[in-house]
C-alpha cells in the first residue's frame, strides 16, 4: 500500500472534522461533535499508518537503518509530522478536559497547513538524504522541535481563545489584538485558497512559490484594482470581526470553557513545549551543528530565530511572575510566540538564507 493514499485519506478526514467542529461550536449538536471526534481519530490512525509506511520506504531507499533514515528531511515531511503532533495533542486535550469545543480552534491550524501543502505544490516525493542530514541527531532534533511546535500551536489557540473570552471592550488593546490576529489568520487562509483556485499550479520550489504565486491572485495581483480590492476586503473583514467579536465570546462562553481553563492549557502546553524545544531544538541542534560544521552556534538566521522564539516563551514564563502581567498580557505573548515559531520554520526557509536552507528544498 502506498503512503500517499493514507495521507490523502487523513487530510480529507481532518478537513471534514474541522468543518464539523466549527458546526458543533455553532449549533452544539452532539451527533455532529461525536462525528467530528471520530473523524479526527480515523484521520490520525490513517496518518500514523502513512507515516510508518513512508518511514520504511525512506529508510530502504537510502539503505540506512530506521533510526537514520527518518522521513523528516524536507518541508513537506516536516509539515505533515507537525499536523500529526498537533492532532494528537488536540485529542489528548479533548479527552482530558472532556470538551470538544477546542476542536474548532485547533483543527483549522491543521487545515491551514494541509492547504498550504497543496497550494504550494511542494515536492512530496521521497528523496535520499543529503550528506549533511546523515546523522543520528536528525531524528531527535527534528522530531522534538516539531513536538514543541505542536505544543506551541495549541497554546496559540488557547491563548487566542483566552483573549476572546476575557475582553469585550472594543477599544481595549487586547480586544483589538485578538480581532486583528484572527482576521490575519482568516485573510491568509482565504488568499491562499483564492491562489489555489486561480492558478491550480504545480510549483517546483518554495522560492518559485513565494516569488510567482503566493498572493498573486489577490494582494500581489498585477492589476492594481484587484490589489486595492483585496486590501479593502481585508479591512472590511477586520472591521466585521472587530465589530461583532463579542459574538465569539458568547459562543465560547456558552460551551463551558472557562478563562481559567484556557489559561491553564496555554501554560501547560508551553510548560511542555519549552523544555522540549530547548533540549531538542536548541541543544541538540547545537550539538549537531558542532559535529557537522565545527561550530555549535553561528548566528545563522535559523539559529537566531530559534533563539528569538525561545526568548518569546521565556518572556511568557517570566511574565506570569510579574505583577499585572498574568492573564491577558501574557496570553498576547503566547499568541505572538507562535508567530515567531511560524517565522522560524517557514519564514526563515522561504525568505532568509542560511545553513538550514537545504530544508526548503
Amino acid at each position: 500500500m502506498n503512503s500517499s493514499v493514507f495521507f490523502g485519506l487523513s487530510s480529507l478526514a481532518y478537513i471534514l472534522a474541522m468543518i464539523l467542529y466549527i458546526a458543533y461550536l455553532a449549533f452544539k449538536n452532539k451527533t455532529v461533535g461525536v462525528t467530528a471526534t471520530a473523524l479526527t481519530i480515523a484521520g490520525l490512525l490513517s496518518q500514523t499508518a502513512a507515516l510508518l509506511i513512508r518511514w520504511k520506504e525512506f529508510a530502504e531507499l537510502g539503505n540506512m537503518g530506521l533510526l537514520r533514515g527518518v522521513p523528516l528531511t524536507n518541508l513537506y515531511e516536516s509539515l505533515v509530522f507537525f499536523v500529526w503532533c498537533l492532532i494528537l495533542a488536540y485529542l489528548v486535550i479533548e479527552f482530558r478536559y472532556k470538551n470538544r469545543s477546542f476542536g474548532a480552534f485547533i483543527t483549522p491550524i491543521a487545515g491551514l497547513v494541509l492547504a498550504f501543502i497543496d497550494i504550494s505544490g511542494m515536492s512530496k516525493g521521497i528523496q535520499p538524504l543529503v550528506p549533511a542530514l546523515q546523522s543520528n541527531w536528525l531524528l531527535a532534533h527534528v522530531m522534538m522541535s516539531f513536538i514543541a511546535y505542536a505544543m506551541f500551536a495549541v497554546s496559540f489557540s488557547t491563548g487566542l481563545m483566552y483573549l476572546i473570552v476575557t475582553t469585550d471592550d472594543r477599544t481595549d488593546a487586547a480586544y483589538i489584538f485578538w480581532t486583528a490576529m484572527l482576521s490575519v489568520f482568516i485573510i491568509v487562509l482565504a488568499a491562499m485558497g483564492i491562489d489555489y483556485l486561480t492558478f491550480k499550479m504545480s510549483v517546483k520550489g518554495q522560492e518559485e512559490l513565494i516569488k510567482s504565486y503566493l498572493f498573486k491572485a489577490t494582494f500581489r495581483s498585477g492589476s492594481g484594482f484587484v490589489t486595492v480590492l483585496s486590501f479593502a476586503f481585508s479591512a472590511a473583514l477586520f472591521f466585521v470581526i472587530w465589530r461583532f467579536g463579542g459574538i465569539m465570546k458568547k459562543i465560547i462562553s456558552g460551551v463551558e470553557i472557562s478563562a481559567d481553563m484556557l489559561d491553564e492549557i496555554t501554560y501547560k502546553s508551553i510548560a511542555m513545549g519549552f523544555p522540549i524545544f530547548t533540549l531538542g531544538g536548541l541543544i541538540f541542534g547545537a550539538i549537531w551543528a558542532d559535529q557537522a560544521w565545527g561550530k555549535y552556534w553561528t548566528w545563522d538566521p535559523k539559529e537566531t530565530w530559534s533563539l528569538i522564539t525561545w526568548f518569546f516563551y521565556a518572556f511568557y514564563l517570566h511574565g506570569r511572575l510579574m505583577r499585572g502581567w498574568k492573564g491577558r498580557k501574557v496570553a498576547m505573548v503566547a499568541v505572538l510566540g507562535f508567530l515567531a515559531v511560524i517565522f522560524t520554520y517557514l519564514g526563515v526557509n522561504l525568505l532568509l538564507s542560511g545553513l538550514h536552507s537545504y530544508g526548503a528544498e
Binding site: P131, P275, L279, A292, T304, F311
Partner: protein, 481 residues
C-alpha cells in the same frame, strides 16, 4: 515610600538588576535586534545588503546606500559581535546572576527545611484537603495510612499533635532549585563561549589529494600553525545509485607528528577527525585550479580467470591485462561524461561527477575494441573477451575543503547544556509536594484529615491524594463521608 528615600544608588541598581521586569526588557531588546541581524546578511558584501534594504523598504539605491552606511556604522553588518550586542548579552548575564543571588537564599531555605508537623486547625488552610471518617480502630487506620503514604511515594514521619497523631512527609523539595540551575546553565554556556573565543580558533584548510600541510588558514589568509602535519590521501564523492545526488563526501586523512604517522582516518560530514584538540570537519571540495590532465588514472584490470592488478597511468599510456595478451591504450579522459544530441561524447562538468576513460584494446581474439569505461557504470567495465577493466579513481586533481577548529570551551558549553536540561526538567516536570495526614479517634470511628500542597502542577498531585483516599476507604470497614 519611606524606604525608597533611604535607598542609595547601589541598592537601586541591585533592585533594578534583580527584577524580572529588567529580564523581560532585555529578552525583548535582544530578540528585536536579533531580528534585524537575520534580515541583513552578516559579514556580506556591502552591495548585497544595499539590495536587501532597497527591496525591503522599496527605496532607491542612494537612500539605501545612505541607510546602509548608517547601519554599518552601528555595527549591524556584524551585529552579533558588535560591542552593544555583546553588552546586551553581558547585561543579561548580570541580570541572571543578581536575580539568582537575590532569590536563592530564600528558596534554598524552603528546599532544605525539613517538613514540620502542622497544627490540625491549620490543615484547613492548605490548598488540597480531604477528610474522611473510617470505621475501625485508630491503630489499624494508622497502619493503613503508613502503607498508603508509602504506596503514593512518601515515607512519613510521625508526631503527636493536639488531636491524635499526624503523619507528614515531603518530596521533590529540591525541584525548587530547578530555576536556578537553568539560570546557572546559561552562565556556564556563556562562559564556555568566551573561553572558546579567547583560547580557540576557527580556520579552514583546502588540501589537495596527496599533499600535506602543517598550517591552517584564518580569514584573510593568516597562517595558523597546527603543531603537526595533516595529509589528504584521497578525496571522493559518492552518489546515490546512478543519479547525480551526492551520498557522501569523504576524505582519507593521515596525521604526522615529528615525521611519524600517528593517525589515519576517513572523515565525512557529521564525522570529523580530532587530533591534539584540533578538529577537522569535511566542509567543501573542488578541483585544483590548473590541474586538468595532470591527474593519475587508477585502473583495476581483472582477467577472465580472476587475476587482478592495479594500474596507475596517464592519458597516452598503455597497460597489459594480467595473464593475457591484451593491451589497452588510454586515449582520453573525461571528468563528467555524457552524450550530446548528435551522439558525441562530451564533458558536462569540470567536477568529477561521472569520470570516464576511453581505452583502445588490442590483442583480443576477435579484433580490436575501443570503448569508454565509466567509473559509476559497472556494465561499461566488461570487455567482449570476458576480461574486466575498472576505473577506480582519477587521483590528484581534487582538493578537500575542511573547517579546522580548536575550541577548549566546547566541553564547558556541553556541560552547561546538561545543566540546562536537568534544570528545565526539575522546573517543569517536578514539584515540591508536601502532605500531612492527621488521624484522630472520634465517636464511632476514626477521623482522617489530609492536607497537601504542591508548588507546581497541583492537579496531578491531587490525583495522588485521591488515590490515597481510595486506599484508605477501601480498607476493611472503610466508609467515606
Amino acid at each position: 515610600m519611606e524606604n525608597k528615600q533611604k535607598k542609595n544608588i547601589t541598592d537601586r541598581v541591585w533592585d533594578l538588576f534583580s527584577s524580572v521586569k529588567l529580564a523581560v526588557v532585555i529578552f525583548s531588546i535582544i530578540a528585536a535586534t536579533s531580528m534585524v541581524g537575520t534580515v541583513l546578511e552578516q559579514n556580506a558584501e556591502p552591495e548585497k545588503n544595499i539590495k536587501i534594504i532597497m527591496k525591503m523598504l522599496r527605496v532607491g539605491h542612494d537612500t539605501a546606500q545612505g541607510l546602509y552606511g548608517f547601519l554599518a556604522q552601528l555595527g549591524f553588518m556584524d551585529m552579533y559581535h558588535a560591542w552593544w550586542f555583546v553588552t546586551l548579552l553581558l547585561l543579561f548575564a548580570a541580570n541572571l546572576i543578581i536575580c539568582s543571588i537575590d532569590r536563592l537564599p530564600r528558596v534554598w531555605k524552603l528546599a532544605r527545611e525539613p517538613i514540620q508537623a502542622m497544627p490540625p486547625e491549620l490543615l484547613e488552610k492548605v490548598s488540597v484537603k480531604r477528610s474522611i471518617t473510617l470505621k475501625g480502630s485508630a491503630e489499624t487506620i494508622k497502619e493503613s495510612v503508613r502503607a498508603g503514604l508509602k504506596e503514593i511515594g512518601f515515607s512519613p514521619a510521625e508526631a503527636a499533635v493536639s488531636h491524635g497523631v499526624q503523619f507528614y512527609a515531603q518530596k521533590g523539595n529540591y525541584s525548587r532549585l530547578g530555576v536556578y540551575i537553568t539560570h546557572l546553565s546559561i552562565l556556564v554556556i556563556l562562559a564556555g563561549a568566551i573561553i572558546g573565543l579567547f583560547f580557540g580558533f576557527n580556520a579552514f584548510l583546502n588540501l589537495p589529494e596527496g599533499e600535506q600541510s602543517s598550517v591552517a588558514y584564518k580569514d584573510r589568509g593568516v597562517e595558523l600553525p597546527l603543531g603537526f602535519e595533516i595529509r589528504c590521501d584521497n578525496f571522493e564523492v559518492s552518489y546515490y545509485g546512478q543519479s547525480d545526488m551526492p551520498k557522501a563526501y569523504k576524505s582519507w586523512l593521515s596525521v604526522f607528528k615529528n615525521g611519524k604517522k600517528v593517525l589515519q582516518k576517513s572523515i565525512v560530514v557529521n564525522d570529523p577527525l580530532t587530533y591534539e584538540g584540533v578538529t577537522f570537519y569535511q566542509s567543501s571540495f573542488g578541483i585544483i585550479p590548473g590541474s586538468q590532465g595532470k591527474g593519475i588514472i587508477i585502473l583495476k584490470a581483472v582477467s577472465a580467470d580472476g587475476k587482478a592488478q592495479n594500474i596507475e597511468a596517464k592519458v597516452g599510456d598503455s597497460f597489459l591485462i594480467p595473464g593475457t595478451q591484451i593491451t589497452g591504450r588510454i586515449l582520453d579522459f573525461s571528468p563528467a561524461i555524457s552524450i550530446d544530441a548528435t551522439g558525441r561524447y562530451v564533458s558536462y562538468d569540470e567536477q568529477l561527477k561521472n569520470p570516464a576513460v576511453q581505452v583502445a584494446f588490442s590483442g583480443l581474439k576477435d579484433g580490436n575494441y575501443t570503448g569508454w569505461i565509466l567509473k559509476r557504470y559497472p556494465q561499461t567495465w566488461q570487455l567482449p573477451s570476458g576480461d574486466r577493466v575498472e576505473l577506480v579513481d582519477y587521483w590528484g586533481v581534487e582538493y578537500t575543503g575542511m573547517q579546522v577548529r580548536k575550541d577548549p570551551g566546547v566541553f564547558i558549553v556541553y556541560l552547561g547544556c546538561i545543566f540546562m536540561s536537568i534544570g528545565l526538567f526539575m522546573s517543569f516536570f517536578m514539584s515540591h509536594k508536601r502532605i500531612w495526614v492527621n488521624v484522630s479517634e472520634e465517636k464511632g470511628g476514626t477521623r482522617v484529615v489530609i492536607g497537601a500542597s504542591a508548588h507546581r502542577n497541583r492537579a496531578a498531585f491531587e490525583g495522588r491524594v485521591e488515590k490515597l483516599v481510595g486506599i484508605l476507604s477501601s480498607g476493611p470497614k472503610g466508609e467515606r463521608k
